[in-house]
């Protein structure tokens, strides 16, 4: 090991002296401050994890295939099988598939991408390492929320949605109404935020990934089943977001349960994040 003179423990020393004036005091290190100390740093780390490996490419390819290509192919086949289909009918067939697959894809992407976001760091000891620094625990959770939302939305919804829109327009010759399509995309993104918040919250509750994944999937599947028997119960959760999105683009309307479920889902998402931060604030690492 090579050894060097160790700097003193001032926390404000060891900048570089200028060549013109070697005796001039070095620039002081400025202490990081703020109630969300470390947020930017943690955001950078989360971004790095997404962009440094293959996960971005893998997620991108899988969801592009499942959400965009399959929906378009099905719409194309339906158009070929039914010569009487108008361009709008072809669009509707594709849009229904897009919203169903987009909903399912966003839940699977959330579970695949975030089941270990908090649990994995607790188990590995990286959470304890980070939080042995003057890092805010709230920043730790919020950085995960922000960056996972950013990339999961991008790879499982945004890129597939853009590709779907272009390809659908190409095969039906009638572009779906852009504003309504954007609204439908926003509804799917809100659903993704809900499941992501739930996943992060459950990450502060459970100590292993299995129960977390089971709960998130279970919640989605249970919702589809409940919708058949007690549709009114779907009004406060995002279970029928695929239908709400489809109705908006296809018919320009949203059913009453859909109108309620949008703000309700937003509120649930905020609640899960607040609960996740509160639980993580008290977590033993």
């Amino acid at each position: 090991m090579k050894h060097k003179e160790t700097p003193k423990n001032t926390g404000r020393d060891d900048g570089e002296r200028s060549p013109e004036n070697p005796e001039a005091p070095p620039p002081s290190l400025e202490p990081a401050e703020g109630s969300l100390n470390g947020f930017r740093n943690l955001v950078g780390k989360e971004n790095g994890e997404w962009t440094s490996g293959f996960s971005l490419v893998a997620h991108g390819a899988i969801w592009m295939l499942i959400v965009a290509i399959i929906s378009v192919v099905i719409a194309f086949i339906r158009g070929q099988m039914e010569p009487g289909y108008s361009p709008k009918d072809i669009n509707d067939a594709g849009l229904l598939m897009f919203f169903v697959l987009g909903t399912v894809a966003s839940v699977i992407a959330v579970v695949a991408g975030t089941q270990g976001a908090i649990i994995g760091e607790k188990q590995l000891g990286t959470a304890a390492w980070v939080l042995s620094k003057p890092a805010s625990r709230r920043a730790f959770v919020l950085a995960k929320l922000a960056i996972h939302f950013r990339w999961l939305t991008t790879v499982s919804l945004l890129f597939p949605a853009a590709a779907f829109y272009v390809l659908m327009t190409a095969i039906s010759t009638l572009p779906p109404p852009p504003l309504a399509f954007l609204g439908g995309f926003g509804i799917l993104a809100l659903g993704l935020l809900f499941y992501l918040s739930l996943s992060l919250f459950l990450g502060t509750v459970f100590e292993s990934r299995g129960p977390l994944a089971g709960c998130v999937f279970g919640f989605m599947v249970a919702g589809f089943m409940i919708a058949n028997y007690a549709p009114e119960a779907t009004a406060i959760f995002p279970w029928l977001f695929f239908q709400t999105g489809f109705n908006l683009v296809e018919g320009g309307f949203i059913l009453p349960h859909g109108i309620i479920s949008i703000p309700a889902t937003a509120l649930w998402s905020v609640l899960f994040i607040v609960l996740a931060m509160r639980r993580f604030e008290r977590a033993e690492l």
């Binding site: 090991m1 160790t6 003193k8 404000r12 020393d13 202490p31 990081a32 990286t126 042995s132 620094k133």
Partner: protein
């Protein structure tokens, strides 16, 4: 030894923060359900010292360290670091502390330099040049400059440990808390770590609180030590006190190669003294022998013992002195003695 000209002491310290003790705990207790991991720990770690925290696995060492850092909360009792309450002011404490975990894990996608930058950015907002300089110094301190831009996913255990030391002192902390810092290192790596610890204390006035199983290391560099077993503090003293005799007035005489009959006579002469309680003999390589003479009267022993031995000119004495316990002996005496008391 050079000292930095731009040395600045932290300002605005309260009297409690200025106290000679950096760490103080009183009745500190941690329980997980019905299992008590730590029971009524009273500890005091002096400023600018190296403090060895010893104990078998599960003794409560890591639990104590995590409570000091605010990563875990005490069930009862209290503790302070720099006079700040570990339960209420942990954020402020962590600004002035560096921590190396047992079996440290970092983000595999980062390089060594990136890991240090990531750590430094929790403490400093700039200027970037000064932060980069600090990172370079830290890499150099632990001998990782040539691997600075390699991803740490491929680092060996020893390299990870060195990186751990570098990141722990990236903020030039006043207190370093090191959990088994030399555990996964080869003998040279261990020596280097001990050297770094001693230099951080001597050159930077850093207080070092570390746990280890390697008793030789504690004996070599520590100023004080505490021994913990099953969450209970068995001993807490300056290292010299722990290493002093066990109170029985024992003396060690190392004898060179000596004819057997002459040795027998001297042995009988020593054993016949009223102040000699026992004499144990051990053979050493090269024909040397070591006598451990336990006495009941230290004054008589110090005045007469060596004279008695040297009366016979054929006996060669190559070493004589009061028997000092090794830390290993002290450790096992305390830990096993406590265990037998309980049964």
């Amino acid at each position: 030894m050079k000292t930095s000209k731009n040395y600045e002491r932290p300002t605005e310290e309260t009297p409690a923060e200025n106290s000679a003790a950096v760490i103080e705990t009183s009745g500190l207790t941690k329980a997980y359900g019905r299992v008590a991991a730590l029971k009524n720990l009273d500890l005091r770690v002096e400023r600018n010292s190296i403090f060895g925290f010893l104990g078998p696995n599960g003794a409560g060492k890591t639990t104590t360290m995590k409570m000091l850092l605010g990563l875990s909360r005490p069930t009862s009792g209290r503790g302070s670091v720099f006079g700040k309450d570990i339960a209420k002011e942990d954020f402020e404490i962590r600004r002035r502390v560096g921590y190396l975990a047992q079996d440290p894990r970092y983000y595999g996608h980062m390089t060594a330099r990136g890991t240090l930058r990531f750590g430094a950015n929790f403490f400093y907002s700039g200027p970037e040049k000064a932060i980069e300089k600090r990172i370079e110094d830290s890499l150099s301190l632990v001998g990782l400059s040539d691997r600075a831009d390699r991803r740490i996913r491929g680092f060996s255990g020893g390299e990870r440990q060195r990186l751990g030391l570098a990141q722990a002192q990236i903020n030039a902390p006043e207190l370093l808390i090191l959990d088994e810092p030399a555990a996964s290192l080869d003998p040279m790596g261990r020596r280097d770590v001990l050297e770094i610890m001693a230099r951080l204390r001597d050159e930077r006035n850093t207080t070092i609180f570390y746990s280890t199983h390697i008793l030789d290391d504690v004996q070599r560099v520590s100023d004080s030590a505490a021994i913990l077993r099953e969450g209970r503090l068995l001993a807490h003293a300056p290292i010299n006190e722990l290493l002093s005799t066990d109170g029985s007035g024992a003396y060690e005489i190392r004898l060179g190669s000596t004819p057997g009959n002459a040795l027998e006579k001297v042995r009988n002469r020593v054993e016949s003294q009223t102040w000699v309680a026992s004499l144990e003999e051990a053979s050493e390589p090269g024909g040397e022998r070591t006598w451990l003479v336990k006495t009941t009267d230290e004054t008589a022993a110090e005045e007469n013992l060596i004279r008695l031995v040297l009366e016979d000119r054929s006996v060669k004495v190559v070493g004589f002195g009061r028997k000092r316990q090794s830390l290993e002996e002290a450790f096992f005496d305390l830990v096993e003695g406590e265990a037998s008391d309980e049964t």
